[in-house]
Subunit: 221 residues, 2 copies
């Protein structure tokens, strides 16, 4: 039997990996890291932990036919992992939050590879702790989305997080303001380039891909 | 200056603490653990890491006047932490997700204690990874709540998690079924008593407080 662990390495700060993920990396026979156009964010975050390990890069360029790439990646993993060996596949953040690991899992199952997924700190979790703007207090409804927002849901939510805000920040901030939400923009949480911005005009001037907006309904009390 | 770190210890499995949280515990002068009726879940989870440290228990019994308890707790922390010392306050899961740490922070600020919050793995994050039912795939809307659910939000969501399901499980499962959601019930994720249940009747028979339901819209494809 071969086993692959999906390990969430967290959003950027190397110390935000779990002890479990760290220990699995140290014990693994092979580390697989996803690449996009020659770069791997997950690989960079876990750099100091995978140094000296057998590391295999798997290319997943966005926009290509990824189904075919997952089949090929599972095939490579199956070939590289010998019977009785364990591998670790690194993912940024958490493997179950806007990650492509789930698609790979299906193909791994088709190859009879045992799979286990290890949670990681999400970017919105890190940003909420960094700014101490709570994701949820008692009885709160929290809404998470990925660029496309739905004002009807926001109207009924107490707290929100919008990832990938670079396309429609003006729309997002307008909706939040007219629904009485305070907000904060967090860029590259945990990186040296981290930036936390509360001012609307300043937020609108930012263009970074790895950014998010946290919002929270201002209470009447 | 005195500094207190809120550290999320994760949902139950001791290895799901972050390296950062673990290192802060090891370096801290004092560990503060919240107690409720003489027990501390966060303290139990991190038991092996706080062994041998100076540990101080703070009672926060539910239902009492907690505002007063937070003022008192901040006062105790202020007295126990000497100038230049650092303390760690443990919270189950993540300090920004249905935690009372946020209320304590306000009182700590009033005592001029510097505060930093370290994210932890949430119960819903751990359960999603355990069952490999994704929290979110590309463009998904995820909705998190705490017992009280709103069918109008569910209608517009792709994925949901309901914590504290012990009061209204029948209502929850009925709403999920009529909105074409598949679901799974996860009890005490990461504990020896962990139970993962997909069958409706079996779910309805469960009574555990530390349980949640993950749901995901069944796609038409």
């Amino acid at each position: 039997m071969k086993k692959l662990y999906g390990v969430g390495v967290g959003p950027g700060d190397a110390e935000l990996i779990t002890l479990k993920g760290y220990n699995l990396i140290k014990k693994a026979d092979v580390i697989f890291i996803p690449m996009s156009r020659g770069e791997s964010t997950a690989g960079s975050i876990a750099k100091e932990y995978i140094d000296g390990k057998r590391v295999l890069k798997l290319e997943f360029t966005m926009g290509e036919d990824n189904k075919k790439r997952y089949v090929e990646a599972a095939d490579i993993i199956n070939t590289e992992l010998k019977d009785g060996e364990t591998g670790v596949f690194l993912t940024i953040g958490d493997p179950m939050v806007y990650s492509t690991f789930v698609y790979l899992v299906k193909e791994l199952f088709n190859n009879n590879i045992e799979v286990e997924s290890i949670p990681g700190i999400t970017s919105f979790g890190a940003a909420a702790n960094r700014t101490m703007l709570p994701i949820s207090l008692k009885d709160d409804k929290f809404y998470l989305c990925d660029g496309k927002i739905d004002e009807e849901i926001i109207k009924k939510s107490d707290s929100i997080c919008i990832l990938k805000t670079y396309k429609n920040k003006t729309e997002i901030l307008d909706i939040l303001e007219r629904n009485n939400f305070k907000y904060v923009y967090v860029k590259r949480c945990g990186y040296v380039e981290e930036k936390i911005i509360y001012e609307k005009e300043e937020i609108l001037n930012e263009k970074d891909y790895m950014s998010l907006i946290l919002g929270r309904r201002v209470s009447n009390g």
